[in-house]
């Protein structure tokens, strides 16, 4: 019984790493067969060596630190503003009417399309990157908050009325818990978007960060460095998302399906 369960868990873990391993294998085979010039499709070993160098020199840590700091700022500002906007739009019909067209239109413009304008406005400093990350993080959270608050069933407010619940308790004990699940799924999307846009923005203009490291690698034809960046981006993005899912599952213990079940 318990042995079977252990086997099942092991099996699941094997299945989970199967696809990355397959890609690694294909990569190894292709580079060994010299299908592409080795300078273009660098071998996994070369990438590992570059990773060792970049780690030893502290360069990778520095770039990553810069990127994560930008992420933290941009994501916090963007999803925080999204939360406030979503709340205001859900609670005030006037506010919603006032900003809905602008909101819907801006939502449809890709973040990267703002880059030229933002560079002219803010230069290529930190502000520019933080604004662009914040913009990416804003919309998913704003939308899910709006839907979440609007979607609170009237039935629950009736229960609160029956027991003559005072307003602060209504907000803290009914309204907020009822909206948390949908807000969190929006925040999760915001985090992913913020990370993607951050790396993209750094690829275009930056003097530090994981994206800039990759861009410098490209310019100096160090594809091993570029590949280190690709792998690190994937791993960090994955880790951020998993971390968030765990947090979600912890906050939403009361749900039948833990939030991480579908992830």
């Amino acid at each position: 019984m318990s042995a079977a369960r252990i086997e099942e868990a092991t099996l699941r873990r094997i299945v989970m790493v199967a696809s990355p391993l397959a890609v690694l294998l294909a990569w190894q085979v292709l580079s060994a067969a010299r299908v592409f010039p080795p300078e273009v499709l660098v071998s996994p070993q070369a990438v590992l060596a570059a990773f060792g160098q970049l780690t030893a020199s502290g360069e990778l840590a520095r770039h990553l630190g810069e990127s994560l700091q930008r992420l933290l700022w941009g994501f916090s500002i963007g999803s925080g503003a999204g939360l406030l906007f979503g709340l205001a739009a859900a609670l005030s019909p006037t506010f919603a009417r006032l900003f809905d067209p602008l909101f819907q239109a801006l939502r449809q413009v890709p973040v990267l399309a703002f880059i030229p304008l933002l560079i002219l406005l803010f230069g290529i400093d930190e502000v520019f990157k933080i604004v662009i990350i914040a913009k990416a993080a804003f919309f998913p959270t704003a939308l899910s908050t709006l839907d979440g608050v609007r979607g609170v069933p009237r039935a629950w407010f009736e229960v609160a009325r029956i027991y003559r619940t005072p307003l602060p308790s209504l907000v803290w004990r009914v309204l907020i818990p009822a909206t948390v699940p949908s807000v969190l799924s929006g925040v999760r999307l915001s985090l992913t978007r913020a990370w993607l846009v951050l790396v993209a923005a750094e690829l275009i203009v930056a003097d530090s960060g994981i994206g800039q490291m990759m861009e410098m690698g490209r310019q100096m034809f160090r594809l091993d460095v570029v590949m280190v960046g690709v792998v690190v981006c994937g791993v960090i993005g994955f880790a951020l998302d998993r971390g968030f899912v765990l947090l979600q599952a912890r906050l939403l213990r009361w749900r039948a399906q833990p939030a991480g079940a579908e992830a």
Binding site: A155, E158, R161, I162, Y163, S169, W254, R255
Partner: protein, 283 residues
């Protein structure tokens, strides 16, 4: 007289409450629907005696649920007079509890927290609160499940929990809006027996809406039969049997035939409504 027969069965230490008298006078409720006025309830007069169990049966759309919402003051927009112990009702009150058809427990609270939520307006020590909550969880037979979340409870258990939440304030009147309508037949029979026991031990006046004539007769001291279009009380049947009752009592069966005949004769062509009324299982 029914009250007296029940009082005799009640355990001696249980004082028969002499409050919880609900009076409805010429209550009328109209909705504006598509620019047209729709009369949902009209000329509704009802005297519910203190401590009584009153069942209300009627076809769909006869305004049964609307009536409960008016008594609970979830809806304040009506004509006429509704008073509890002589005082006109205004706004929701802890004196008037309500159990909905769907249990409406908050999924993010444990059973214990859900029941305690009802005491949010009550000024009492934490210890007194805990004791009340524990007692009422025990009353509905859910001791041991205090820390369970609603998704871990079955439909029947959730409805018990909802009853505990509604009773924890010891309301003078407990309103039950088809409380067992969404449950399977076996669970429903079981909960009917439980509700009878709870009512006998409590002293609250209870008014229960149901589609189920058997349920109405099994529990009710009286059964108000409603008609639709517009909603009104056609008449009130006395169920002159002491509690706890035997489902097989011949009187219950005779009254059931009468009520079904009445509901089907005036509301729909014979042969059509007989089946829905006995078999209708909403949800």
């Amino acid at each position: 007289m029914n009250i007296d027969s029940r009082a005799a069965v009640r355990t001696p230490e249980q004082p028969a409450l002499r409050s919880g008298a609900l009076q409805l006078k010429e209550v009328r409720k109209r909705f504006l629907f598509d620019q047209r006025e729709l009369t949902v309830l009209t000329g509704l007069n009802l005297d519910v005696r203190p401590g009584e169990f009153l069942s209300i049966v009627g076809p769909s759309g006869c305004g049964k649920s609307t009536l409960l919402r008016l008594i609970a003051s979830l809806d304040d927009d009506y004509e006429g007079h509704i008073a509890l112990d002589g005082r006109r009702v205004a706004g929701t009150s802890l004196e008037r509890g309500l159990v909905f058809q769907d249990h409406r427990l908050f999924p993010w609270m444990t059973l214990e927290q859900n029941v305690a939520f009802a005491l949010i307006r009550r000024d009492m020590s934490a210890a007194a609160r805990d004791r009340l909550v524990r007692e009422h969880i025990a009353l509905v037979g859910l001791s041991g499940f205090e820390q369970a979340y609603p998704h871990q409870l079955s439909g029947g258990m959730s409805q018990r929990a909802a009853i505990a939440r509604a009773l924890v304030n010891e309301p003078k009147v407990l309103l039950l809006d088809e409380p067992f309508g969404a449950l399977d037949a076996l669970t429903r029979v079981h909960l009917q027996t439980e509700l009878q026991r709870i009512w006998m031990s409590q002293g609250s006046t209870m008014i229960m809406i149901t589609h189920d004539v058997d349920e109405a007769l099994y529990l009710g001291d009286r059964v108000a039969v409603m008609q639709a279009h517009p909603g009104r009380i056609a008449h009130i049947v006395d169920v002159d049997l002491p509690h706890p009752r035997d489902r097989a009592a011949p009187l219950l069966h005779r009254l059931k035939d009468d009520i079904l005949a009445e509901l089907t004769a005036t509301d729909a062509p014979r042969g059509e409504a007989v089946v829905p009324l006995t078999r209708r299982r909403p949800g």
